[in-house]
Symmetry: C2
């Protein structure tokens, strides 16, 4: 089998580096030079492997969602209950206040805000990301129903949308400088609605 | 009194035009040409009157908040009750789903997401915007306490932060393409927490 010159870099590692840049700076504010520096690639390698900036961004969104979903699913499996998983997610987010991590927000939520419906290709991908978060909340809420912590009459799809919205809002406020005390005080109020 | 040549345009009207551009496109994606076209100004008039793009954006954020606060205060005064004002605000936001208005989101929330803590000058101004929304919710919640619809023990500051977060989240999800049916179904869940 004849193949081209083998890649001299790890594409997954380069992709993770690009995720960090887009996550910190947003899509528009990220320059090609920012990406080349972080990924330690030449312009031609970047174009050959990932296509242009937009293509690379779509790959990054996918990668971020993959990592995020795997992390959340693992946390749900090891959580003592469905409800405890949900409260843990919000407590963890609230604890990112006043930290670099909190200042970055969530790449999916940031992108939802940055693009909206302006670029349909990108917004479809962002929409899938929000649905991915929602899917995990649906699984947690169904578990809470099986565990008797949530009425079996509750509409888990609506509650999951509510939780995605609450998380998106909390992360945006933390990004805008909400203190940790304020962020933590919001968590029980957010959870009130699903009890 | 000797003065320069009088302005040949209405600065308030030009500012409103610039608000629309930043609101639809975001800060980074807005070019100087977008602004000059929408404001019907020459580059030199724009610089003379408003300074550069960043200065103009700060003026736009201020103008947007002014308009938003005046509108909300008027709605609160004419609402039949504090709680009805709050539910009305969320119903109105949910009804922007699947509309151009919804696709734009909220300029303050968009900017919170776009800048985070990256540009302290801008993020201070964005933080003030979120506080402005919170202040109106505080007034509505205090009215609800006087009207007997909310426990006088409730911490209106925490509840107001919760409502700002819920609104920010809802608007971001609508921007990302949430349907009107889904958006409307979230409103009673959001309000559950303050009852």
């Amino acid at each position: 089998m004849i193949r081209g010159r083998p890649l001299e870099f790890d594409p997954q590692q380069a992709l993770d580096a690009a995720v960090e840049v887009f996550w910190s700076k947003g899509y528009e504010a990220t320059s090609m030079n920012d990406l080349l520096g972080a990924m330690a690639l030449s312009k031609s390698s970047l174009y050959q492997t990932f296509g242009g900036k937009r293509q690379l961004f779509l790959r990054c969104l996918g990668r971020y969602q993959e990592r995020f979903s795997a992390e959340m699913r693992g946390a749900l499996q090891s959580a003592p209950s469905g409800l405890r998983f949900i409260s843990g997610v919000f407590e963890n987010v609230a604890n990112t206040a006043e930290k670099c991590e909190g200042a970055k927000g969530c790449l999916v939520a940031n992108s939802a805000s940055e693009f909206g419906q302006r670029d349909m290709g990108l917004s479809k991908s962002v929409g899938r990301g929000l649905q991915g978060m929602g899917q995990i909340f649906i699984e947690a809420l169904q578990r809470a129903q099986r565990e008797g912590d949530l009425s079996t009459k509750a509409d888990v799809n609506v509650l999951a949308n509510y939780l995605v919205g609450a998380m998106t809002g909390l992360r945006t406020m933390i990004k805008a400088g909400l203190s940790k005390v304020e962020a933590r005080s919001m968590v029980p109020v957010i959870l009130n609605s699903i009890r």
